[in-house]
């Protein structure tokens, strides 16, 4: 799979830009702040309907514009598919697939499969659990696009349930005994358990499939030093299997048990939105123990493992390496270059072309403010 053309209108810093791309390696060079990440962020958005940099859509729309458009022509198995997204902050995105409107933006998921390395990936290892949940869920959706719907539905139920608990909590604070209307809480519990079990089952299956790839990738990046392991830690505890009805029952039971605490605190305390992907190096957790170099190796290994898993599934994703070489020492640079060199399409961004291992440089593009030009 490769992106043949990317067009943006009022996306981030670009009033209007079009870039023709090709399979194989390409390097996009330009000074810091010129708009390189903005370009690949648009691809990431087309692939996951979210940005790796911001939680809301407003910053994606060029300052002063009302909406942004991302248009990508994707070639897969010799056929070209056009994906178009219009981002209107505060409203539902509009989407078209092959020039026909689709009912919901989520219907375009799967058209573009992407694995993206970013300087922020260090946060996968050192940051909050939310970073690692996002990593898992993005990969889940890339691998099985129907999970895009599961994830959105689950998030929505949690939001609604939190709003209900929060309103009750606030009205109790002002009004004393009257606890607000919690008559629909049972309903939200059943829906949280239903969607939560589906998401949880998907994540558990994914972690099982992914674990050997993480171990292998870490070994390759760190040149044989240390054994990396991943494990899913759910608030439900214990060893869980991806059995949906059992997970749903377990979530319902946990909700019943947590209810008085949830009402006291006005927030949903049970469910996969509070789970963690535990990363270990040998016997120790990576977070808090791994050195700077080890953390980088781990972050790279997580991305590489995602790439390997997708390829093992028969999907050839587009690989994006956004400004990562500058962060790495020479040894890691060379090993990473070897591991990704065979990608069907590899897009590398950098400020200094010399940071990119020579073997990866194919087509060269120069990024200037608001524009991208093929330079060789």
């Amino acid at each position: 799979m490769y992106v043949r053309r990317l067009e943006l209108v009022d996306f981030r810093s670009y009033p209007r830009v079009a870039v023709d791309l090709e399979p194989g390696g390409s390097v996009l060079v330009g000074p810091n702040g010129v708009g390189k990440t903005n370009l690949v962020e648009a691809l990431g958005y087309a692939a996951t309907l979210g940005s790796h940099r911001v939680a809301t859509d407003a910053p994606l729309v060029r300052a002063g514009a009302a909406s942004a458009v991302i248009r990508c022509a994707i070639v897969h198995d010799g056929r070209e598919l056009l994906v178009e997204l219009e981002i209107v902050p505060g409203k539902a995105n509009r989407a078209r697939l092959g020039r026909s409107p689709v009912r919901r933006a989520r219907d375009v998921l799967g058209a573009l499969r992407l694995v993206q390395f970013a300087p922020e990936d260090m946060e996968l290892v050192r940051g909050d659990p939310a970073e690692r949940r996002r990593y898992l869920d993005d990969l889940l959706v890339t691998r099985q696009p129907r999970f895009g719907g599961v994830r959105t539905d689950y998030d929505r139920v949690v939001k609604q349930r939190n709003a209900l608990l929060r309103t009750a909590y606030l009205s109790r604070k002002v009004g004393g005994s009257r606890g607000g209307d919690l008559s629909t809480l049972d309903v939200w519990d059943t829906h949280l358990a239903r969607h939560g079990a589906e998401l949880l089952a998907g994540r558990l299956e994914l972690v099982d499939a992914l674990a050997p790839h993480v171990a292998k990738a870490y070994d390759a990046v760190a040149a044989g030093k240390g054994a990396a392991g991943i494990a899913y830690r759910s608030g439900l505890g214990g060893a869980l299997t991806p059995d949906r009805p059992a997970l749903e029952a377990a979530l319902l039971a946990a909700l019943a048990e947590a209810r008085s605490g949830e009402i006291d605190r006005g927030v949903t305390l049970v469910g996969p939105h509070r789970d963690e992907l535990l990363l270990t190096l040998g016997p120790l957790p990576a977070k808090g123990y791994a050195s700077h170099g080890e953390s980088w190796s781990y972050a790279l290994a997580l991305r590489l493992a995602a790439y390997d898993l997708l390829r093992a599934d028969g999907i050839e994703p587009v690989l994006v390496l956004d400004d990562v070489f500058a962060e790495l020492d020479v040894g890691r640079r060379e090993r990473l270059a070897e591991l990704v060199g065979g990608a069907g399409q590899l897009l590398v961004t950098c400020a200094v072309a010399a940071d990119v291992p020579a073997g990866l440089v194919g087509a060269r593009y120069e990024v200037t403010e608001g524009d991208v030009r093929r330079a060789g």
Binding site: A66, S67, G149, R156, D181, D186, V187
Partner: protein, 197 residues
């Protein structure tokens, strides 16, 4: 930003559902250059809809008299009652030609984020209708999205103890979507294939 009245119109239009800032501007300038008689007709239609249209006292569909056309139609069955969120859903279902019962329009769906709970919907009125004992089947045709599903679950829990058969439209409807956007064939099939819950 334009001056005065034209910007006011753009702002008002922009508040309408489905109208983005660009369309609002396009419509506003169209109105500005349109024939005064056409604009007057539009203004009258806007005013009349608020003055004349009321809600049916039985099903809460839009009506121009005490009862809506469907509630007045003696050929329709009283034994099957279909619950929808909005009057536009009645129109969508009527288009399929699959349904010959009565409707009940809730006026929305349970939505804590927007402060809508069961008390803000016409659920008490629904219970009163069911209490009359004529209804044998209640079809829950709320939207297939988070809020519509929650509303359906809530109603099912309340109604089942009354011994009324409760059904939900078959899957196949676009999940996360809006009933009104389903085409007639899909919606018609969903009606035929409805299941007890």
């Amino acid at each position: 930003m334009y001056e005065g009245a034209i910007q006011d119109l753009i702002d008002e239009l922009g508040r309408l559902p489905g109208v983005g800032p660009k369309s609002a501007q396009r419509i506003a300038f169209h109105v500005l250059s349109a024939d005064p008689a056409d604009v007057n007709r539009l203004a009258t239609a806007l005013r009349k809809v608020k003055d004349l249209v009321r809600f049916c006292t039985t099903c809460y569909n839009v009506a121009e008299s005490e009862q809506c056309r469907i509630c007045r139609d003696a050929r329709r069955s009283d034994e099957v009652l279909c619950v929808v969120e909005e009057p536009k859903d009645v129109v969508a279902i009527e288009r399929t030609g699959e349904f010959r019962g009565r409707y009940h329009v809730l006026g929305g769906a349970i939505n804590p984020l927007e402060g809508v709970g069961p008390d803000n919907l016409r659920i008490r009125e629904l219970m009163a209708r069911l209490g009359a004992g004529v209804t044998k089947e209640l079809i829950l045709a709320t939207d297939p999205n988070t809020e519509g599903e929650a509303t359906a679950t809530y109603l099912a829990l309340m109604v089942k103890p009354m011994g009324i058969q409760v059904t939900r439209l078959a899957s196949g409807l676009p999940v996360g979507g809006d009933l009104e956007y389903a085409d007639e064939i899909t919606l018609g099939r969903a009606f035929e294939g409805r299941r007890a819950i």
